[in-house]
């Protein structure tokens, strides 16, 4: 397959996955913002729930360059509709569709038509429409479009190299995004220290689980109250949980085994190492290190793997 084609397919998948996870991130933020909280240190913007998605996505600086102040409306405008924010849902869907358009020979016509429909619908959105229909309604739509695209891909595409690069992009992005969404709780303050383990704390963990489609699974597996330790276990270490870091690394490692030949063994090894850390990791060790610290380290590693993939397959120098 052409390197340019692989590159476009990989990024098409990443952008769709990013749009979905941005919707998930905004969803958890929206749920948390509905809870009571106090500004512990007045004037510190990060203390507000709407600052959290900006912080975990690394977009706070870009946001304040575009908007004078933090508000639900401004964050939604920036993260959903802003054509100048390359990570906004608008830009992600546009980029995914542009990638698909430039390599439409490599995907099925159903896949292209699906992405094109998503983009045509997205183009018609504006803030008032989203408000009228309801923010959650809109975020659900984004998630559904991503589910649909994955379903169409799964159901129509030849299991060739193109398919593998799409899967690789999806799971590299998902691993990164799940880690960022998990980190939301770290940045979200409780009304007071006494609330740790209390109702608001419980509700915040619940909102986070829901945003990663993990609430029902949690209930099924643990049949018990929500504790941070189990949330970490579920979304980091459990491989039967499709959005967990372990599940993502299973797919990344598996896909790289197919894509790598002798000359690219090093990437397969690096992915295998990262996979092994999750496969043989213990919840206790994560808690001991601190979930936030653990996630930061993971983000560095997954980003390094992404850069290797880029160098070897997507934009080679020969």
């Amino acid at each position: 397959m052409l390197c340019r084609t692989a590159n476009e397919l990989y990024w098409m998948a990443r952008h769709i996955e990013r749009a979905e996870n941005t919707a998930r991130l905004l969803d958890v933020t929206y749920r948390m913002s509905l809870l009571p909280y106090e500004v512990v240190e007045p004037g510190l913007a990060w203390a507000q729930p709407w600052a959290v998605p900006l912080i975990t996505s690394g977009l706070a600086t870009a946001f304040y360059q575009r908007f004078p102040q933090l508000s639900a409306e401004n964050v939604l405008r920036f993260m959903v509709l802003d054509a100048a924010n390359s990570s906004s849902i608008y830009c992600c869907l546009r980029a995914a569709r542009e990638s698909a358009r430039s390599v439409r020979g490599a995907i099925t016509s159903e896949m292209y038509e699906d992405l094109n429909s998503s983009w045509l619908e997205m183009r018609r959105q504006d803030y008032d429409r989203i408000q009228t229909a309801g923010v959650s309604e809109f975020l659900d739509w984004v998630k559904m479009r991503s589910h649909l695209f994955r379903g169409v891909t799964f159901g129509t595409m030849l299991r060739d190299e193109a398919y593998h690069f799409i899967r690789l992009g999806t799971h590299i992005e998902r691993a990164d995004n799940t880690a960022r969404i998990l980190d939301v709780k770290y940045h979200t303050l409780l009304p007071s220290a006494a609330d740790v383990g209390g109702a608001v704390d419980y509700y915040q963990w619940g909102a986070l689980l829901r945003s990663l489609s993990g609430f029902e699974s949690y209930r099924k597996i643990y049949s018990d109250v929500i504790t941070p330790r189990r949330v970490a276990e579920l979304l980091v270490l459990r491989e039967d949980m499709p959005r967990s870091l372990h599940a993502c690394l299973n797919l990344i490692h598996e896909t790289l085994e197919v894509l790598c030949d002798e000359s690219s063994k090093e990437i397969e090894r690096a992915a295998g190492e990262l996979h092994a850390r999750l496969h043989y990791g213990k919840t206790d060790d994560i808690i001991k290190l601190g979930l936030h610290e653990y996630l930061m380290e993971f983000l560095d590693r997954i980003s390094a793997l992404g850069m290797e993939i880029n160098r070897r397959f997507l934009v080679p120098t020969y």
């Binding site: 340019r4 542009e98 020979g105 038509e113």
Partner: protein, 471 residues
């Protein structure tokens, strides 16, 4: 303009022509809202599928839908047989002509064409002289524009031998019609066109450099912002070959390779949809970002076949067009099956004088123009436009030819005010390789504005499905 327009569906007396009888009956018995619903369905589907084209001069990446009309243009079996014979004859001749002018130049020695018309033509590529292209084929894909006028006789309006486009619309229009009106296809014998991509691939494989058993074919596109990008991607996908851009290719030791995820991979045939000028910055325009450095050298070394060949533009140039009937007699010793439109060559002083006196009746075209740009349609132009064009002609008469304003045939077409006659043309696609082939049909373009004769999609034209009846 003549009031006796030839209509594809109805005779002058108002009777429905026999090959349209079934379709007319369907129109008759189908309620208006059902038809409106079908038209909307077609538009939605085309949008979703993304069959769009970019328009030059509008801001980058503007995509528009080519309007599609659900009334087919139907060609009876006997008329098609004549067209097919005439088209093959014409394209075979043009290939022989190209081979000749880049080699022996017998036609010039015979004095049938003034040498400067060929050798001094901007489209003539000296770089192509004395070089054997595989199979002696230059125009592997030719799009020949046919119109119908007067009492219904067919004329060749122009030959397109460079990178003719539009064949994807022929295929998608058919797919759309079969989806919208399966019952019409079930009850009538309409010849299929869907095998065009297979025919094209076979044709391209057949012209690979000698000795390649498993030639690798690729489609070379200028990229996603080209107006015909949809078609490039569509054809690559339908043929199951790579769609490449210049940046995906490199040349080493005169062989062409693609950059792939498994390392360099050889390419033997490029169905290129990039203009000559941009193919290779080392051989042609040095500022081209679309080309592949060294491609021309690989081509001359016989390591890669370009389809179409470089330098075919000289044979479809409007200054050569008037000679084509003579070329057919010269190369094939046959009489031309298809007529040319009578043409005045304004470089000749008699022709010029006549035309300047009759501009309001004529169509004047730039010799090297394409796509309906740089042309005057006398009867439709204001006196100001005519005067402005006159000045351009007088300054460079050799740059223009003129033709009578043909009363192009019409075909019923849905308009805002219901079904109305609109002018149509026809572009069949002729494939040349080991043999000369074409699928029964082509792209019918329709001028949607009332009275307009300009069918180009960039100028407000639409398209129709083209049905060739089996009997």
């Amino acid at each position: 303009m003549s009031h006796h327009l030839y209509d594809e569906m109805q005779s002058l007396g108002g009777d429905v022509r026999s090959h349209y009888r079934d379709f007319a009956a369907w129109l008759q018995r189908t309620p208006g809202d059902k038809i409106a619903q079908k038209r909307e369905e077609a538009e939605r589907a085309f949008h979703r599928v993304g069959i769009t084209f970019a328009v030059y001069g509008e801001d980058g990446g503007t995509e528009r839908l080519i309007p599609f009309d659900i009334v087919p243009r139907i060609i009876p079996a006997d008329e098609w047989r004549t067209l097919e014979r005439g088209l093959k004859q014409r394209v075979r001749t043009l290939n022989l002509f190209l081979k000749d002018i880049y080699n022996e130049q017998a036609i010039l020695k015979a004095g049938l064409i003034p040498p400067e018309r060929v050798l001094g033509n901007a489209q003539y590529r000296r770089e192509m002289q004395g070089f054997d292209v595989p199979g002696g084929i230059y125009a592997h894909v030719a799009g020949v524009d046919i119109v119908r006028a007067g009492e219904g006789e067919y004329y060749v309006l122009e030959d397109n031998l460079r990178v003719p486009s539009g064949v994807s619309y022929m295929l998608e229009n058919r797919r759309m019609m079969m989806r919208l009106f399966p019952e019409l296809f079930a009850t009538q014998s309409i010849k299929p066109v869907e095998h065009y991509p297979d025919l094209l691939l076979e044709n391209l494989r057949g012209v690979a450099p000698a000795g390649e058993d498993q030639p690798e074919v690729a489609v070379l596109t200028p990229g996603a912002y080209n107006s015909a990008y949809f078609e490039h991607a569509f054809l690559a996908q339908q043929m199951g070959v790579e769609l490449v851009e210049g940046q995906d290719l490199f040349v080493q030791n005169d062989a062409v390779y693609m950059r792939t995820t498994r390392g360099p991979q050889r390419v033997h045939v490029l169905y290129r949809r990039v203009d000559d000028d941009f193919l290779d910055p080392l051989a042609f325009r040095p500022d081209s970002m679309l080309g592949v450095p060294g491609l021309f050298s690989a081509y001359r070394a016989g390591k890669v076949t370009l389809a179409n060949a470089i330098g075919t533009g000289v044979a479809d140039d409007k200054s050569i067009y008037p000679f084509v009937p003579e070329l057919i007699r010269f190369y094939l010793t046959e009489e031309p099956v298809l007529h040319n439109v009578p043409t005045w060559q304004l470089r000749k002083s008699d022709d010029l004088a006549y035309c300047l006196d009759h501009l309001a009746e004529l169509v004047v075209k730039e010799v090297h123009g394409a796509g309906g740009y740089g042309m005057l349609v006398g009867p439709a132009a204001s006196s100001g436009e005519i005067d402005a064009f006159r000045a351009r002609i007088v300054a460079h008469p050799d740059k223009y030819i003129a033709q009578p304003t043909l009363a192009l045939s019409t075909c019923p077409t849905f308009t805002d005010s219901g079904l109305a006659p609109r002018h149509v043309d026809l572009r069949p696609y002729v494939l040349s390789g080991k043999a000369v082939n074409l699928v029964p049909g082509g792209l019918t373009r329709v001028a949607l504005r009332e009275g307009s004769l300009v069918v180009n999609s960039s100028q407000g034209g639409g398209t129709k499905d083209t049905w060739v009846m089996a009997h």
